[in-house]
């Protein structure tokens, strides 16, 4: 397990706090905004950053993330670029865990070994590959393990008890519970249902459980943080970029403000 992720969740637990985990697609809306945005998110209270590797066909995501990928791909943001961005971020931040999130094909095309080696060198802590369930991940997990990068897996409302066990065994770092049936950016969030499922998941694992999908504002972030170890915010952040694609200051300010409001509500 990556030390940064382990230390991060241990420190949060010790301080009785929950993780705030923002997601942003690397290279959205241009390559130069991503690193300053990552720093701003940390200043606003982010504990872990999920950095999206753009993909032409993000099937499990809704229109918001799809558009983010399209914006990033206009500038041909590649796996190599994403690794470079983390390298630049690590020049002044060696603490905050960074998890890359995306689809298998860009990583497979780069090469598992090449990817893991380069990722470890720049200080990437985990990889969440949306379309790589544990059953297909043996070779990838082996390579990631060799470089101390955590394979992070999804759990969903339809995941059976038996699969929860299997996934909990295969994953490390944290588990990502998808709170809704549907794609990213969907709406209705039922906190009681989430609570029930997170409890069930935690009966099978000591790994922290982060919850994503449907968290849009300070209220939903606070509610979900009550019943989980971390709150993952994606579409709400990306939407801000979508609305102001050419305005770097507004993007940084509004995303900073959104995360700050979530942090305050979660810590209250």
């Amino acid at each position: 397990m990556s030390n940064r992720l382990k230390d991060c969740f241990a420190a949060l637990e010790k301080n009785n706090k929950k993780a705030l985990i923002p997601y942003v697609t690397a290279g959205d809306s241009n390559k130069s905004i991503t690193v300053p945005l990552m720093h701003r998110m940390v200043e606003a209270g982010a504990d872990v950053i999920e950095l999206g590797i753009p993909f032409s066909d993000p099937m499990a995501d809704g229109p918001t993330i799809q558009l983010a990928c399209e914006r990033a791909l206009v500038h041909h943001t590649s796996v190599a670029d994403v690794i470079e961005m983390v390298k630049a971020f690590r020049q002044s931040n060696t603490e905050t865990p960074i998890v890359l999130m995306g689809y298998l094909n860009p990583v497979e095309s780069f090469g598992y070994e090449n990817f893991a080696k380069a990722a470890a060198e720049v200080g990437i802590d985990g990889l969440l590959t949306v379309d790589l369930p544990p059953e297909e991940s043996e070779q990838m997990s082996q390579v990631l393990g060799k470089y101390d990068i955590d394979p992070i897996f999804l759990l969903s409302p339809t995941t059976t008890e038996e699969r929860i066990k299997r996934i909990a065994n295969a994953g490390s770092g944290y588990l990502y519970y998808v709170s809704l049936k549907g794609v990213t950016g969907s709406s209705i969030l039922n906190v009681d249902e989430v609570s029930e499922k997170v409890t069930a998941i935690k009966s099978h694992t000591h790994l922290p459980v982060g919850v994503g999908f449907g968290i849009k504002d300070a209220d939903s972030a606070a509610a979900i943080s009550e019943v989980s170890d971390g709150v993952i915010v994606g579409s709400a952040i990306v939407k801000i970029i979508e609305n102001n694609p050419d305005d770097t200051d507004t993007i940084l300010d509004q995303i900073g403000a959104l995360l700050k409001s979530m942090r305050t509500a979660m810590d209250a």
């Binding site: 099937m59 759990l155 794609v183």
Partner: protein
């Protein structure tokens, strides 16, 4: 030669490894492959196939897999399917000896497997009947489908009407514009056609959107995939539904010529009509297999969809397959004159057959396919689909190299009515 080989310890299927760092199969002894055991229980054809799906879909896929396993060998389900295939679709489709065309080409005898005579005018209905009956059995009142040219959409809408199921068809905005007639057909049949405006606005994006619908509506919805791709069990299930083409062709060929054919030819986009013809003949190693891909404007122009001929393995739409992608692993939008062949991937079983050397990947250009199209119209009085015209164009090259007492079976996978506007437009005619 028996088409069903016994499973025994002497087969060499263990050499067909799922290892992306070591998957060279060029030296495999094809006579020792147990074709009945492909894919393996997890849907792997070597490194191809599998179940590369988001966790949000896994349970729905598993439910489908369980239901299909249960019904696959259920006599009453098979009987219902056989009944529909016979009385609703009109099977068996004829195997027709194209004598004039054979004579004109001066080589092998050419036999056309007439899938174009099926209800709805293509092979697609063989599969949608199977999947829709499965949906009905699973208690799913709603089916969704993706479509490119519209043939699978029409076949899905047709069987949905027949079984009283709600049907939603996703279709790229560009395809909606190009295939207005099929869009109207689907609407007549009671289906809702949803134009997809994301990505490149074509087939692959329609598939993405259908998957999103499925994730959101798993409880009441069955996703009816139109080709031999997607997460396991789709490639295997769709193959099994289409394999009736090859079973009939084999029997018909034996009846009409007294022997097996020397060569099989079919066009390959996703690959369902081709695998449908090929599958039954896989153990018959004397039967050569040709998978004809669309070379579009030419392989060296980059404007084509010849995946098996040019691409390398990648992962999209739930399975590993040959995939047209750029150096960064981003999927490339392919090109072909034929919307039904215009897909950046190709079914996993085809990929394995090529790697093992059991099938040959060949390609023909748009221009060549149009020659095949016109030849069949003129010489045999049959208007083929532009997809099938690719197979015909390759036959035109292959037949003259063979002897007059040899036979080629080519899958005439669909009829060309849907393509009349496209062909006429090339001649400057607006219909």
């Amino acid at each position: 030669m028996s088409s069903v080989m016994k499973t025994d310890s002497t087969n060499c299927n263990s050499e067909i490894k799922n290892d992306i760092t070591d998957h060279d199969l060029s030296g495999i002894d094809l006579s020792k492959v147990d074709w009945s055991q492909l894919p393996d229980e997890n849907g792997h054809f070597g490194i191809y196939g599998g179940r590369f799906a988001s966790e949000t879909l896994i349970e729905a896929i598993q439910e489908l897999d369980d239901a299909y396993k249960l019904l696959q060998n259920d006599p009453s389900f098979q009987a219902a399917m056989d009944d529909d295939l016979r009385y609703y679709v009109g099977r068996p489709s004829p195997l027709y000896h194209a004598e004039r065309w054979s004579k004109e080409l001066g080589g092998a005898q050419i036999y056309l497997k007439r899938e174009d005579l099926n209800h709805t005018g293509a092979h697609k209905i063989n599969n949608t009947i199977g999947q829709a009956l499965l949906a009905k059995h699973m208690g799913k009142p709603r089916i969704i489908a993706e479509t490119g040219a519209g043939q699978h959409g029409v076949a899905s809408a047709t069987i949905a009407a027949r079984l009283g199921l709600e049907c939603v068809v996703y279709m790229g905005e560009k395809d909606v514009e190009r295939q207005k007639q099929n869009v109207y057909r689907m609407r007549l049949l009671g289906a809702e056609v949803r134009p997809v405006s994301s990505g490149s606005k074509t087939l692959k994006d329609a598939l993405n959107e259908a998957m999103r619908d499925w994730v959101t509506n798993v409880d009441n919805t069955f996703y009816c995939i139109g080709t031999v791709a997607g997460p396991h069990p789709y490639p295997k299930m769709v193959r099994n539904f289409q394999a009736i083409i090859g079973r009939e062709a084999k029997q018909q060929c034996l009846e009409q010529t007294g022997r097996l054919p020397d060569a099989l030819v079919a066009c390959v986009g996703g690959g369902s009509n081709a695998i449908g013809l090929f599958h039954e003949f896989l153990p018959d190693l004397d039967v050569d297999i040709y998978s004809v891909e669309p070379a579009g404007m030419g392989l060296d122009t980059g404007e084509h969809a010849a995946t098996l001929s040019t691409a390398k393995p990648g992962v999209l739409h739930g399975n590993r397959m040959y995939l047209m992608a750029d150096d960064n692993g981003q999927v490339i939008e392919p090109y072909s004159i034929s919307a039904g062949l215009d897909y950046p991937g190709v079914g996993p079983e085809h990929c394995l057959l090529i790697d093992m050397g059991r099938a040959n990947a060949v390609s023909v250009t748009d221009a060549e396919s149009l020659e095949g199209f016109h030849d069949l119209c003129r010489i045999e009085g049959i208007i083929p689909a532009l997809e099938s015209a690719h197979a015909l164009a390759y036959v035109k090259k292959l037949a003259p190299t063979m002897d007059k007492d040899q036979t080629i079976v080519v899958n005439l996978s669909g009829r060309g009515d849907k393509d009349l506007n496209t062909v006429a437009a090339l001649e400057g005619i607006t219909i």
